[in-house]
Amino acid sequence: MNQEASINFSEDEKDILQEIMNIAFGNATADLAEVVDIYVMLSVPNIQVIGIGELPFYLKDTIKDDGESSIVEQKFWGSFKGSGLLVFPSGSGKDLLAFLDDRADYHHEGTAAATLEKGGLLEIGNILIGACVGKVSELLSTFVTYSPPQVLQGKSSDYNYLIEHFDPMQTAIVMKTIFTFKEKDINGFLLILTNHESIDWLRKALHEFMGSYE
């Protein structure tokens, strides 16, 4: 794989990816509302190409964690490969549960409140990450397989865990969007980290996507 070429992800290519994400997130928003009654707004995504070595600093700066943010992380793989990272501000766990106001359906007693809260985060995280990554994949004519999501604490050891499967010499494309739940005062952001291996594939897929319009 040509690393130089990967780092020089061109402005044009960034623009195409930006456009794809605009379309994908628009579709995701519409379908989330229609299909699963989750009303969420996603901001225009911001795309950055960063060296993996800088990723922990980028995450630390972006997340500005006070130790109480709830972070849901989910890895996905296929031609398009990376991680989805959903960051909720501190104290939003309980409000989020109100979305899934069917917790009584968890038909088992003795499940601790903290476990329910974590379960709610995992479920919302799984659906939001799945919707966004899924729609991007769809536009790029591919599909991905997901690992189970997990809740991370905002500790630096956890960031390290996040990037341990990335080579620090390599590059990641970070797509960031801010999401807001309508009529609820909850917002946070979603990061999609693409790892190095899929950058060449991504570039090709972007050109094919444009090709279909030419």
Binding site: K118, I129, G134, E138, P149
Partner: protein, 306 residues
């Protein structure tokens, strides 16, 4: 041929559902555990046979898989199980139902349309049982079965934090068996252990469900009493003192009587930490010993520094 064999050979439940959540395929594992043959269930709605699955969370996740092609994970921690199958092959666990970890994912046709989803069911009862055992070992005292000191200290910290936030009352009783060494010396250590176990039970039966009784040291116990003023805690201590004084413990052919000394403390002016609460209860306990045992005492910062 080989692929279709795999469907029935794997030690995993596999179901394929169409977009109306009707069963399209039902593998041998599912048939065995549900006692429903494919002939019976294929073509029917899954909910006809498993009405408990007809819930918002299950529907929401299935719809999401059909729409986004993502995966849905129903973890054992949160859901315990999706299908109420009997648990078996699990030595020493008391789960009535097989604990399951379930995953739902998309199946696409040649045009990448998702017309079907698959659902896999994994039996994780053994893992859940081990986890349960580890939690018990980590929070319970091996001899008496009541909570251990580690758990008490964690809970105490939580309750003190709650007191600081909401200013709710919180009390603590520390108690100790009088002349416990004599019981061991006279009747043997087995009798001593018997007394410890039975005393733990006696106390556990006399406190509320929200209270926590823990073995704090050798013959020392602690009761953590949330939402309890020192007046109520003193009354409870007196109730325990009289109850235990009246009790006769029968070990083999011996009748053993014991008494306990107690110290009570509460979070009040100047006492705002777990350490201070424990220290004052301990001071009270020693005051009871000093006064001749089988007593309840309460030392406050005021009594100490009038």
């Amino acid at each position: 041929m080989i692929f279709s064999q795999m469907f029935d050979m794997l030690d995993v439940g596999i179901v394929i559902l169409d977009s109306d959540l009707k069963v399209y395929k039902w593998n041998r594992w599912m048939a065995t555990h549900s006692k429903l043959s494919p002939e019976k269930i294929v073509g029917k709605s899954l909910f006809d046979f498993f009405p408990d699955l007809n819930t918002p969370w299950f529907l929401r996740n299935c719809k999401s898989v059909f729409t986004f092609g993502n995966f849905a994970f129903f973890s054992q921690k949160l859901h315990k199980y999706c299908f109420p199958f009997k648990a078996y092959n699990t030595l020493g666990s008391d789960f009535e139902h097989m604990q399951q970890s379930c995953t739902v994912g998309p199946l696409r046709d040649e045009n990448s349309r998702i017309n079907y989803i698959y659902l896999t069911v994994q039996d994780v009862t053994e893992v859940a049982a081990y986890e349960h055992k580890l939690i018990t070992m980590n929070t319970r005292d091996g001899l008496t079965g009541i909570f251990n000191r580690r758990y008490l200290e964690a809970k105490l910290k939580e309750e003190v934090d709650r007191h600081i936030r909401y200013n709710r009352p919180l009390s603590l009783i520390m108690l100790d068996i009088d002349h416990f060494k004599k019981i061991n010396d006279t009747h043997g250590h087995q009798a001593g252990d018997f007394i410890l176990k039975n005393l733990a039970t006696t106390i556990d039966e006399r406190i509320r469900a929200v209270d926590i009784v823990a073995r704090y040291g050798g013959e020392e116990f602690c009761c953590l009493l949330p939402e309890t003023t020192s007046e109520s805690a003193l009354a409870l201590a007196e109730f325990l003192r009289m109850g235990i004084e009246a009790e006769i413990y029968h070990f083999k052919d011996k009748s053993i009587k014991i008494t306990i000394s107690q110290g009570v403390s509460d979070l009040s002016d100047g006492v705002d930490s777990a350490e201070a609460l424990l220290k004052l209860a301990d001071d009270g306990l020693y005051e009871s010993k000093r006064l001749g045992r089988n007593k309840v005492s309460m030392i406050t910062n005021k009594t100490k520094n009038p």
